[in-house]
């Protein structure tokens, strides 16, 4: 498991209060219980803190769309970390 995935999994477990949650690329807001708009923002805030990155409004919105999933989330984080030189 990549480092980003591992750290993001901990963020998900913390936000959704589920220690058994195992992230898979194809997971999305429909497949994770309670992933609504409010928890989505909590997830974004926790992710921003964990990785020391910032998401723009449009990126936050895109990650909530039906065609986006955990895989897209990880790619977006990696891209931000890459452009931060991290």
């Amino acid at each position: 498991m990549s480092e980003v995935r591992e750290r993001l999994q901990e963020v998900f477990r913390d936000v959704f209060d589920d220690d058994d949650l195992v992230l898979a690329d194809e997971m999305n807001a429909d497949s994770i219980e309670r992933w609504d708009s409010l928890e989505h923002v909590n997830l974004i805030i926790a992710t921003e803190r964990e990785f020391a990155i910032r998401f723009a409004t449009r990126e936050i919105s895109l990650l909530k769309e039906a065609d986006q999933n955990v895989g897209s989330f990880i790619r977006m984080i990696e891209s931000k970390l890459g452009s931060n030189g991290g």
Partner: protein, 407 residues
């Protein structure tokens, strides 16, 4: 020019034919721009309104470009204030008169589609400020704002989707099946508006016409029932039919619009309702109002984030209600929806806290609870539409008169 008219069908047919006959992308953009201006001309009645419309498009474009270039937060805040202030002024919000002088809204301007145009401008402005868009061009922005499909009543297409289509604008409609699907969508929408919406509106009109006359209790109860169900039916058939026309007409030019309705009266709760009703508006409110404000709240006051979330859910739907119209009844409409959405979230949290995750899951999956929830949500939504009709006082007087006869 209304959508359910031979004039509009002729206009659409001419625009589509010219678009398809145009050999180059530049010509197609020109056809679309002319069609947009031609359609707009049928809605703009005075030189002042035409100037104001042009001023809005050019002014908001200037703010967007400037914001994109300099990235000043103060400029973004001032621009947003100018856009929202402009909307309040043009729509002459009655509630603003509580703090503003009575002649504040003079001179009067009639700008068709200003509510949608303002939200679209806010969306492009925020995304441009946050460096999420490539350079916004005047031609693409003006046609995005004035697109004849969605000028009157949406749906709100995200600018990047429109821009992607505008930039490629290749030979549209690769197949005969695609054309037939688009045409049948237009026809479906027209029939829905012309038959189902007209029928529901006729029933509602008939029911309200005799509302103030004396009648037996049973007749008054039937009248109240008709008003209660017919108006929500009319609003749904009319608006979703209109969206069918828009989506089908846009598809004839190869443009894809997102679906705006998904059987909203089968929603399980009010959060689910807004995921199915006027979806493009819900997404805008969710992204640019709720999630933005909740993120700011949760970062600043993490200890009260949950309570803040409930309050902001209420506020976001209250705003959605107010956005629909300038009179007090839309404040009530928004408050009912805000309360419904916040209560849904509070109820969900309470269930998990009382019965744990497994208990809440069993509750969610119980088919009888689901049926009861759908029925309750449907009636809650119908109740809210009692306050959706423009003209608050006559509606309230009618309801009071009928209720006095029934109860």
């Amino acid at each position: 020019m209304g959508f359910v008219s031979f004039g509009f069908l002729g206009f659409l047919a001419a625009a589509v034919a010219l678009f398809h006959l145009s050999p180059r992308a530049g010509w197609r953009r020109g056809v679309l721009a002319l069609a947009n201006l031609g359609f707009l001309a049928t809605w703009v009645h005075t030189p002042h309104d035409a100037l104001a419309m042009g001023g809005f498009v050019l002014g908001s474009f200037g703010l967007i470009r400037l914001s994109q270039r300099v990235g000043w937060r103060t400029l973004l805040v001032a621009s947003l204030a100018a856009l929202i202030g402009g909307l309040v002024w043009v729509k002459r919000y009655k509630l603003a008169l509580a703090v503003l002088p009575a002649d504040f809204f003079e001179p009067r301007l009639q700008l068709i589609g200003i509510s949608y145009m303002t939200f679209k401008a806010v969306h492009v402005l925020v995304d441009a400020h946050q460096r999420q868009l490539a350079a916004v061009s005047l031609a693409s922005y003006a046609n995005y704002q004035l697109g004849f499909f969605s000028l009157v009543a949406g749906p709100m297409q995200p600018y990047p989707d429109f821009r992607a289509w505008w930039d490629r604008i290749e030979e549209p409609l690769a197949s005969r099946e695609g054309a037939l699907r688009a045409l049948s969508r237009v026809l479906h929408g027209l029939l829905q508006i012309g038959i189902l919406a007209a029928l529901a509106h006729g029933l509602w009109q008939q029911a309200i016409d005799g509302a103030l006359l004396p009648e037996p209790r049973g007749a008054a109860a039937l009248r109240l029932t008709t008003i209660f169900y017919a108006y929500p039916a009319y609003v749904y058939f009319n608006f979703s039919g209109y969206c069918d026309v828009v989506i089908g007409a846009a598809a004839l030019l190869g443009m894809r619009h997102q679906e705006n309705f998904d059987r909203p009266y089968l929603a399980r709760n009010m959060v689910d309702f807004w995921d199915r009703w006027h979806i493009s508006l819900t997404h805008f409110i969710r992204d640019y109002v709720f999630m933005t404000s909740y993120k700011a709240w949760a970062e600043r006051w993490p200890r009260t984030a949950r309570q803040g979330g409930y309050a902001l859910l209420f506020g976001a739907l209250l705003l959605a209600g107010i956005w629909h119209g300038s009179t007090w009844n839309f404040v009530i409409f928004g408050a009912i929806h805000g309360a419904g959405v916040a209560a849904t979230r509070i109820w969900g949290d309470a269930l998990r806290s009382l019965f744990g995750r497994e208990g809440a899951r069993r509750y969610d999956r119980d088919p009888w609870i689901r049926r009861a929830a759908v029925l309750a949500t449907f009636h809650y939504a119908c109740f809210s539409f009692l306050f959706f009709e423009p003209g608050f006082r006559p509606a309230l007087e009618r309801l009071a008169a009928i209720a006095a006869k029934v109860f």
